[in-house]
Symmetry: D2
């Protein structure tokens, strides 16, 4: 299969639709991004890279970072993490607080905001706040094989200043005893993790271990066990697109994680790691063109985990 | 891989645990079943069958039937069905009515009770009630390649008499205009579809088309398109185990659908269709031993869709 | 105080606003009513009657009947009734089913639909369905001192045919064991009780015992104890206007019960029973002009229970 | 009526039951209070005072303060306040956040925590934080006619340190734009208002204007209009006891406001203001013995607003 032709074709077909969707506006810095951008990058398990469009333009990783911070937290806490956060789709919006009240402060999964905040809190059991961010950066640079990755401090600051909803979630969980560290410290880590600037090439490279049984197939470095890689993929498939996870599985059929920056990381187990990016979001908060691009890709490649 | 050795080993390892879980007691007829039973059957896409335990003992198909009735309804209504039922995990119990009120009578997916009732209603747009049941039986016998399949009338009657919750769901949806036929007719079809008696061998045979791109690989008969087969698998993975779907994906990693009769149908795309049965249910209503058996099977075979 | 002048003045002031609000359309027979009608009647505890507008035009009593059926049920079951229905405002719409799921089939109060259905079920512990309706009619005719009161069979039939939501509520409660009789029998009573045709004069007369310590001050007949009369008034004040009860207490300050037929019964303890009627409803389902009329009346008379 | 005999009798009858209920333990300072205390004070509109038990022992006013801060806020903002907070019973616990999500950050009424926090925020439109607390103290001392009233700083500090749930509520409302000031400033005012130490005599005196058409009948000072006094009483009756408001109206029949410190203020319009205090709380968070005492008082005096 000529993957370069596939991505070129997808980029060409979507050229006219650039600008669809609505750029996230609740984080002021994100609202400034030009909506007419689209990029895609595929890194295969044998190390080839295929790109089209704005594949080297950095964007804000936002919630896609939850996959990587979860990986870090599982590394320090192991399966005990699952006492503090569930593994079920939420059936509600990414920032809903209703479920937390009904389930006594235990978030439904690590990919909704509340769950990701608990994951940060767990990491703070092993690291001080600044160290935690340092560890995360070291991890991301290593996975992306690119030491130039940086946090966009203006985005981190923008989130810190307007993050009332996340403040609410964190304080609410703390009232149930499911947050152990100072709320501002936990959210400091969370907002910095989300503010990482990354491009499609780097992101697809960083996710490659999930397509390769937990091992980075290029460096040979073992990131997680094969079992844990499968489980993270399972969580991405059932919970990775908030209340659009079922639809993404239905249309694309790959484990994936989206962010409000407009990026999506998708994993084709045994085959490739894919990153797409386009800032306009659909009504459930996932990249509009990114979702379409991945559906086209899955159709063309037959990579759906649900059958060729 | 010696699949016979695998299923024998699973059956042997679970022998001591027979009786775990709690038999469904809200349907009086089901409460009478001996809990110490366990069966497993694998039908591979190349037509081989492997069994262990009580693989030829009939049990009540219950909610696993939702996969087949959905297939029938998509055949008559096509994608228009999705205007009346969603494709997202529910985040709540199989018989919850709360979500229906919040979302104006549109069930979250076709595998919770409310969604399956809408699916029945859709089938009644093409068939009269008795014809609908007849069509369903014809379909099941054809898929299972076994004309001896029968509905257990005592179970159907048992459900009809105590099905107040389903009456509530159906009437509630009708109040929103999302049910078009007489409630008793719709539920009549629904209760009969759930009361089909089937065994593991028959069930694994019936689901084989979902492992084989929509085509029955033995008869060569095309049941659905490859795309539709993938989509049904996606729905099974994200929504097939009620509020335990995330956990099933995490531990087993296969599309699956459970029923309160204790059966589970699991699909390994491109490889096999698997049926397990053990009457005791875990706390979210899925077969306790059946779930464990499938996790063991996935581990031994590497069939998880999320990577070997 | 010249009460006749007061009601004349209210009717005059509201003449221009006749037709405000929206006539209930979910019961087809009610949708046919001319919206430009308004009536008011006051019956004082010393037996005087003051009327203005369409005070002798019959309308459908609808939910106001819940006050009277509750009185009957308390008469047969006593305080044991409160094991099956709560006494708290619901914080949701009159026909919400969400609360029932969260509170295991116990309705929040006897004035939301679910609670009124339980009240009917309780009455069926003492009477067969037809007898229950007969007893209710006997009671209403006695209280209104008018043997001409009749049930409007076309309204009863209209509700029976479209009452899917109430079917849902009843079946849902039955699934929790909080309904003991056949759903159709219970709803049969309920729909007939709601279909009573009554006018303002009759209604204000029927409610008089609640203004007079439980005793009909004209006939001298003791309907309920003074304590029970106070308690029914308390329930009317906290729960009598669905999710507009707080607002009604804030603006009017009298125990009251509204119906979707556009009627409201209000009680001024120690002073009078008041009935108003105008078919147009406000957004929470209470008579728009009726609410305004009662606020004007309370202001003019100083009858608010919260201070002159 | 010999009110002294009434309160003596109530205190005597409850002597054996002292210690019933459960002292609030989520505020550490409150958990230290001796549960076996009980006090009652009645101040009549003609200025007589009747007391029994621990009527001069100070306790923490807690949520009863919401009545007074609401009075202040209405004084500065007028009826515009009602755009930011509703007037309906909540149908849920005093600190529930679910309703806020469903109703877009508008609290149901000013007596649940979220509503009281909005009220504080409104006061901060007119005063700086320290001035707001000063104004509140000036108001309370004036109403209680006692300049010795003080805030218990250890209680205020205790709440500030553990008030994660209120932090969550405040941040949540801020995310909806329904909080305009710094969360810490708003909560600073809120925690100080709740930490006022007051005794039954002072509290019954402070509430007297609500029993006397808004005017302090002793000083002659007009606190609010008669209409506003009625409306505050209405809010107390429908919303003053959280999710036990209906029950309090049913059993006692007086406007009242409870606090987790164990105090209750009850108003008999035109007759008296009553304060009771006993630290043990019932399951909905209201003083167990205090509720019983008020029911006895209402029965003995015939002061129920729902009829003698």
């Amino acid at each position: 299969m000529d993957l370069q032709a596939v991505v070129d074709d997808i980029a060409a077909k979507l050229a006219e639709r650039r600008g669809e969707g609505k750029v996230a506006d609740y984080i002021p810095e994100l609202a400034k991004v030009d909506p007419k951008q689209f990029g895609i990058a595929i890194t295969t398990v044998d190390g080839r890279v295929f790109t089209a469009g704005d594949a080297t333009t950095p964007f804000s990783i936002q919630s896609i970072s939850k996959v990587f911070m979860l990986t870090l937290a599982l590394g320090t806490a192991g399966e005990a993490l699952w006492k503090r956060v569930g593994r079920e789709p939420s059936g509600s919006a990414f920032n809903s607080i209703v479920q937390l009240e009904h389930e006594h402060g235990i978030p439904r999964n690590p990919f909704i905001n509340a769950g990701a905040i608990v994951v940060c809190d767990q990491v703070l059991a092993s690291y001080k706040p600044k160290e935690a961010i340092g560890e995360y950066m070291r991890f991301m640079r290593s996975l992306a094989d690119d030491d130039s990755l940086l946090i966009d401090r203006s985005v981190a600051k923008s989130e810190t200043e307007t993050g009332f909803r996340n403040q609410a979630l964190a304080n609410f969980m703390r009232s149930f005893g499911n947050l152990h560290h100072d709320v501002d410290h936990v959210l400091g880590v969370y907002f910095h993790q989300c503010a990482l600037a990354i491009n499609c090439v780097q992101l697809s490279r960083a996710g490659l271990f999930l397509a390769a049984q937990g091992r980075d197939p290029i460096s040979g470095y073992s990131v997680v066990s094969a079992k844990r890689a499968r489980r993270i993929n399972a969580l991405m498939l059932t919970c990775g697109h908030y209340d659009g996870s079922g639809d993404f599985a239905f249309h694309v059929g790959l484990p994936g994680k989206s962010g409000v920056g407009g990026g999506i990381l998708a994993i084709a187990p045994g085959k490739a790691s894919v990153a797409v990016w386009s800032p306009g979001l659909n009504k459930v908060g996932n990249s509009a063109l990114g979702s379409v691009a991945l559906e086209m890709l899955a159709t063309r490649t037959g990579w759906s985990v649900f059958g060729a």
